[in-house]
């Protein structure tokens, strides 16, 4: 009885499982639901609101004008498709380089080289988002390094264009693909390679029939990052894209001028990301992240 008297809180919590769970979950849920989800819901509700054509003030209403504007204007559709295309290209290019890099690191490199490459891939992750965009600007600007270096061979760089946006986003998110792919290749049991070789498979056959199928979960996990991070980005488009517009650019540009349109358009990347996440969730790859 003495312990009950001296440690009332502990005893109470120990006795009630519900109270314990409640005391853990209340704060996080109040924050995430009360602040974040409520803000998101409110933003999406704005999509149905009315903009006064004279004062450009937004007033609560229930109308579909913003959605009609989105559907009737060809520019919004092409921006969505362009952004989707950029995000998919970034994902494919990242995977195309991550797989050979991972095979080299896991199977060919010496232990020293492997450790060096592991750090070399991770380091740029910490270098900062804008630092890397600046690096791409310095490289591809009109009178910059790329044009000056390759100009000797008669090659001129992409300048600030959609190609540079793809390159920049790949530059930003490549490590998120490379690391899981490398880890997955390292985790493949060595005897699978032995068995494949004993059965007479050459290197490429082993890679195609043994390694690649086992890489699927890692590729999916990596693609969640490369895809959704590219899809939502608009700073790269603004700083190295020339006139390239992405979904984010449209949202950012409209939020003050026409909030309902911005809010309605925000649904597009949310839909893309949710569909992509649900699609990948079925494969079970996310459990390993």
């Amino acid at each position: 009885m003495t312990s009950t008297a001296t440690k009332p809180v502990s005893t109470l919590l120990y006795r009630s499982r519900r109270l314990r769970l409640g005391s853990l979950l209340t704060l996080p849920l109040v924050w995430l639901v009360g602040l974040y989800i409520a803000s998101l819901a409110l933003l999406l509700a704005t999509a149905f609101w009315r903009v006064d054509p004279f004062t450009s003030k937004v007033t609560p209403a229930f109308q579909f004008d913003a959605f009609e504007q989105l559907l009737s204007n060809q520019a919004y559709l092409s921006t969505s498709l362009r952004t989707l295309g950029i995000a998919l290209t970034v994902t494919v290019v990242s995977a195309a380089f991550a797989i050979p890099l991972g095979i080299y690191m896991a199977k060919i490199a010496s232990p020293w080289m492997r450790a060096f490459l592991a750090v070399a891939i991770t380091l740029p992750l910490w270098a900062g988002y804008l630092v890397k965009i600046l690096a791409m600007r310095v490289t591809f600007t009109e009178e910059g390094f790329f044009n000056s270096f390759f100009g000797v061979f008669g090659i001129s760089g992409p300048g600030f264009s959609q190609t540079t946006v793809v390159l920049t986003l790949t530059y930003l998110w490549f490590p998120y693909m490379a690391l899981p792919v490398y880890t997955a290749i390292r985790q493949i049991p060595v005897n699978l390679f032995d068995a494949s070789a004993d059965l007479g498979a050459r290197g490429w056959t082993t890679i195609r029939t043994v390694v690649l199928p086992l890489l699927a979960p890692a590729l999916i996990a990596g693609s969640v990052f490369t895809f959704s991070l590219s899809l939502g980005d608009y700073i790269a488009a603004e700083l190295v894209g020339g006139r390239t517009q992405m979904i984010g650019s449209v949202i950012a540009n409209n939020i003050n001028l026409n909030p309902p349109v911005a809010a309605a358009f925000a649904l597009v990347p949310i839909a893309f990301v949710v569909v992509y996440l649900l699609g990948t969730r079925r494969t079970g790859a996310l459990e390993r992240m």
């Binding site: 314990r20 853990l24 900062g128 988002y129 791409m136 070789a197 608009y234 925000a266 949310i270």
Partner: protein, 270 residues
């Protein structure tokens, strides 16, 4: 063993070479360009000088921005540590209805594009809280940052809790320790490295965040990324940006070193 022909090995090595060149040459160019006397990053560099370094270190606005970034990062980190650890314990130690949904809620702020998160918060601040007289101002930025930092702490602590056996805590409670004593003396030391790793990641994530800051920073307040972004948006004044970028590249060695140490410490603890 994986049997590869000589040609295949060379081809794979070449890909690694291309990746390294693509990753590091642009960063080197930034470093070299911080010593470029010219106003635009032209190549080849004709005249080297330290003038942008001197200008950057004398720039009061830049230092204020750095200070703001540190304050916001620390604030977001503390909130994320509290909320991330609480939710990690809830989701690891309990089975309950809606567990998957809570998990999704924690991941959502980082899974959704920053522009959506930023616009959502600014909409709430400007159109809901301000009209009823609540001015979050500076704190609003910290709130927004903390929201997407929770997942960093959560992931690290959750993963560690999964590997910890609850029997130590049960033993501690059986021996008469209170919940708080048990947490402080038994549980916390077991997940301390994961806690620190989560804190580091949360701070780094906040320190580097631009998009959410664009929409939630009060007027006239710059964080470091915001300051860099504003400079970069005016192409001919971006000279000091190379300097601060060089410093950031050099600073990025610290977290890599710390994370290597933490990994080793974690292996020792096991």
């Amino acid at each position: 063993m994986l049997r590869l022909t000589r040609g295949a090995r060379i081809a794979l090595g070449a890909v690694v070479g291309i990746v390294l060149v693509f990753m590091y040459v642009p960063l080197m160019l930034v470093i070299v360009n911080s010593f470029n006397a010219a106003r635009i990053p032209s190549w080849p560099i004709e005249e080297f000088s330290l003038r942008w370094w001197e200008a950057a270190f004398a720039n009061q606005a830049l230092w204020t921005a750095v200070g703001n970034s540190v304050i916001v990062g620390l604030g977001a980190m503390v909130i994320a540590l509290l909320l991330g650890t609480l939710s990690a314990f809830a989701l690891q130690r309990f089975e309950f209805f809606g567990k998957q949904t809570v998990n999704l809620l924690i991941v959502l702020p980082i899974a959704l594009p920053g522009v959506v998160t930023g616009v959502a918060f600014s909409n709430t601040y400007n159109n809901v809280l301000e009209p009823i007289g609540i001015q979050l101002g500076y704190f609003g930025m910290i709130v927004a940052h903390a929201t997407f930092c929770i997942v960093m702490v959560f992931n690290n602590v959750f993963a560690r809790l999964r590997r910890m056996s609850p029997s130590m805590q049960e033993a501690s409670m059986d021996l008469g320790a209170s919940l708080w004593q048990t947490f402080r003396l038994v549980t916390f030391p077991q997940f301390r490295t994961a806690f620190v790793a989560g804190a580091l990641l949360a701070f780094a994530l906040s320190f580097d965040e631009l998009v959410v800051t664009i929409f939630t920073a009060p007027a006239g307040v710059d964080t470091l990324p915001l300051w860099i972004f504003n400079q970069m948006s005016r192409p001919n004044e971006a000279t000091q940006v190379n300097v601060i970028a060089t410093v950031l590249i050099l600073l990025s060695f610290i977290p890599v070193y710390v994370s290597q140490r933490l990994t080793r410490a974690q292996e020792d603890e096991r």
